[in-house]
């Protein structure tokens, strides 16, 4: 991908945690915050620095839902499919968004790297079901129409910025 890796930044993160093996998950979280995903080179670099085998790091990075080994879009839309949201019809929202953005179960990010659509098991905002989040901002009581409206607004705002 086009991300240039600045190892100085990774070093800063590692230094903050003192290369402690137990800090691996926290380190990966911070790295992901920096790059929006976990580039392979960085994972190998971290493994060598922390003295953890690469296979192990790969194992941890692929175990947790929050880590992505592929770049994500500028806007990450998460559709909550917890029980409460599910019984309040969250799947139609997911389907509508996928259709709007030309995505599917396997293709989660738009080609222009603007949107990533994924599901999340429960955001704990069940009282507001169904909810979605866009870059961690919670949008309560969603409908397919309202979700598409949000996407259109974001597109429009970005177009104006350009």
């Amino acid at each position: 991908m086009n991300t240039t890796i600045i190892y100085g930044k990774v070093d800063q993160i590692l230094n903050r945690y003192g290369n402690k093996k137990s800090a691996l998950i926290a380190v990966l979280q911070e790295v992901q915050k920096e790059y929006h995903y976990l580039p392979q080179e960085v994972l190998s670099y971290i493994g060598d620095k922390m003295g953890i085998s690469r296979a192990r790091i790969f194992g941890v990075a692929t175990f947790y839902e929050n880590f992505s080994l592929e770049p994500k879009g500028k806007y990450v839309i998460k559709i909550c499919d917890g029980t409460a949201c599910h019984v309040k019809k969250s799947i139609p929202i997911l389907n509508a968004l996928r259709k709007e953005l030309g995505l599917n179960e396997n293709k989660r990010t738009t080609d222009d790297m603007m949107f990533t659509v994924e599901t999340v098991s429960c955001l704990g905002a069940c009282g507001l079901a169904p909810v979605i989040t866009i870059n961690d901002k919670v949008y309560p009581k969603m409908t397919p129409e309202a979700a598409i409206r949000l996407v259109k607004e974001i597109r429009e705002a970005n177009r104006l910025e350009d």
Binding site: S53, A55, F58, T62
Partner: protein, 565 residues
């Protein structure tokens, strides 16, 4: 804690057993498991060893400690039903082309499926359609046959300390794989093959190269020369129902002749050359006090591990080639002119206990004008397979003797096959005292035995030489850490990657208990005891070679390339 428990109505005492699985097996009940290995940590994932207590509660035997007065049943209808379901579920997601599988007939899953009469798989279809990784010279990994027992992962990490294999992803998408799912040949795999040795199915198997051997045996223009590694002779018999440790050198020679090999020699002879060269190198370094300790270099898995993980120690690694490569180089040189004259081609086939030897033979530095010093490497198991394929009744063979001149090895060269053997052989060479008492003293110095890290102190010329012997790369890494941290200081370190040394190589028949390795070790020490020549320098062939072929070509015995890597 000692006590008594009641297993299927039978009173069974326990003493040091950590879990009831061991107690149950001690009671003569073969409780099935996939993921339990006494030398690995308890994983508890296959759930085949479930037992029932008197209240009908189920528990995994592998992870339940025994308690005095405990009552368990191992074979209730409920447990049978669960075991069948576990098997059915595993099989439903398993590539079931058993008849063309490398593991056919030796597969634990196949065996248990037969034992529990699994006739019908009600689930499907198969979920996995993953590519087979044949990149490695030593092992083939077929993820479609993996049952996620994690034996290979724990072997690679816990025993070998390498961690090339790991679990990735989760749930039904879980995989045993390398970092970033790279081909095995591109990661820091040392090719020791121990993963394949513990794999219960055909997911990890040793690369089968018997067809290459059949090809050359049937080629009239080829002179096919075999070399037999020391450890092979004390293990091959197991494949034919003989006792572990039984020495079957003569039968192997007879079988190889029947298979059509032209000349049959002993790798032990080449090991004698290794001893000579390594001793010389060691005494030289000792004198100059530089780059100590000297690490042995006859184990290719260990050499690869140093290259991958401890490049700073490459200067400490002996420059000697391994016996296999010395043998190959020597034979090719020996027949060079004769072949040219006769229009023949000499092919060297090694019979090895080891999978890494396949990788070693394929390394670029062991090629001369594109021709490899060793052409094909087959393991003990592959040789057994060839003998069976040829219809040879092994147990009825009359023993025959190895060919001369390269078939004569000293006892020192033959104990190379067991942990501590290389160190012992080198000490024999370096020690000035040559009486039988000195030999005995060496054997009791601490180099022998099955502890992971052994230490010995030998007085040579009034100087105390500190020797360490390790087997299992995990132990090697521990030792190196203590050396690098300055906690330990040694002059000579022998490393063998496989637990037990070459006798425990992944190319050997799979041992059913830890006792097997000890029996094989005893077999090699028996060979040594009954041989007339105990020391490498007393081997007349060696002396003849030094004054003949090697007089101007000692370079054949060394390699320099790995230093530059």
């Amino acid at each position: 804690m000692a006590g008594t428990m009641i297993i299927d109505g039978q009173r069974v005492g326990f003493d040091k057993e950590k879990n009831i699985l061991d107690v149950i097996r001690k009671a003569g009940i073969d409780l099935p498991t996939f993921c339990y290995h006494s030398e690995l940590s308890i994983y508890g994932a296959c759930r085949m060893c479930m037992v029932e207590d008197e209240r009908g509660r189920t528990m995994a035997a592998c992870s339940t400690p025994p308690r005095d007065g405990m009552i368990v049943k191992t074979n209730t209808p409920k447990l049978q039903k669960y075991r069948r379901m576990v098997l059915e579920l595993i099989l439903s997601n398993h590539d079931r082309d058993c008849t063309v599988c490398e593991k056919n007939g030796r597969c634990k899953l196949q065996e248990l499926a037969a034992r529990f009469s699994i006739k019908n798989i009600r689930f499907g279809p198969l979920c996995k359609q993953l590519p087979v990784d044949e990149s490695s010279a030593s092992i083939v990994r077929n993820p479609n046959k993996c049952i996620m027992c994690g034996d290979c992962v724990r072997m690679c990490e816990e025993v070998q300390g390498i961690g090339v294999l790991g679990f990735a992803y989760r749930g039904s998408k879980i995989k045993v794989t390398t970092a970033f799912e790279r081909p095995i040949a591109e990661v820091e795999c040392v090719n020791c093959g121990q993963c394949a040795a513990v794999c219960p199915t055909g997911a990890l198997v040793v690369k089968n190269e018997t067809s290459k051997v059949w090809d050359v045996l049937n080629d009239k223009n080829k002179r096919v020369v075999a070399q037999i590694a020391p450890a092979v002779r004390v293990a091959l018999g197991e494949e034919f129902g003989l006792k572990p440790g039984e020495i079957v050198t003569g039968k192997i020679v007879a079988a190889l002749r029947k298979l059509g090999f032209d000349e049959i020699y002993d790798t032990g002879m080449a090991a004698d050359l290794t001893v000579m060269e390594e001793s010389r190198e060691f005494m030289g370094k000792l004198e100059k006090e530089e780059n100590l300790p000297l690490f042995t270099s006859c184990c290719p898995a260990w050499v690869k591990h140093v290259e991958d993980k401890y490049p700073q120690l490459l200067k400490n690694l002996s420059t000697c080639k391994s016996p296999q490569q010395i043998f190959g180089a020597l034979i090719k040189e020996h027949y060079k002119k004769i072949d040219e004259a006769q229009g023949k081609e000499t092919v060297v086939v090694s019979v090895m206990p080891c999978t890494a030897k396949k990788y070693e033979a394929a390394r670029p530095e062991y090629r001369n004008n594109g021709i490899p010093d060793v052409d094909v490497v087959i393991t003990t198991q592959e040789l057994a397979l060839m003998i069976k394929q040829a219809g040879i009744v092994f147990n009825e063979l009359e023993p025959e003797s190895l060919d001369m001149p390269f078939g004569l090895a000293s006892g020192a060269g033959l104990i190379f096959g067991v942990t501590g053997g290389v160190a012992e052989a080198v000490i024999r060479r370096c020690l000035k005292e040559k009486n039988p008492g000195a030999l005995k003293e060496i054997s009791f110095s601490g180099v022998r035995g099955m502890e992971g890290i052994k230490e010995a102190a030998i007085n040579i010329d009034g100087r105390e030489i500190k020797v360490a012997v390790v087997h299992g790369l995990g132990n090697a890494s521990k030792l190196i850490s203590s050396i690098l941290a300055g906690e330990k200081r040694y002059d000579f370190v022998e490393v063998m990657a496989c637990p037990g040394g070459c006798i425990g190589g992944a190319g050997q028949p799979i041992p059913q208990s830890s006792l097997v390795k000890m029996q094989r070790a005893k077999g090699l020490y028996d060979v040594d005891r009954s041989s007339q020549i105990k020391r490498s320098e007393e081997n007349p062939i060696i002396m003849a070679l030094y004054s003949g072929l090697l007089s101007e070509k000692r370079y054949l015995l060394h390699r320099y390339l790995h230093h530059q890597k």
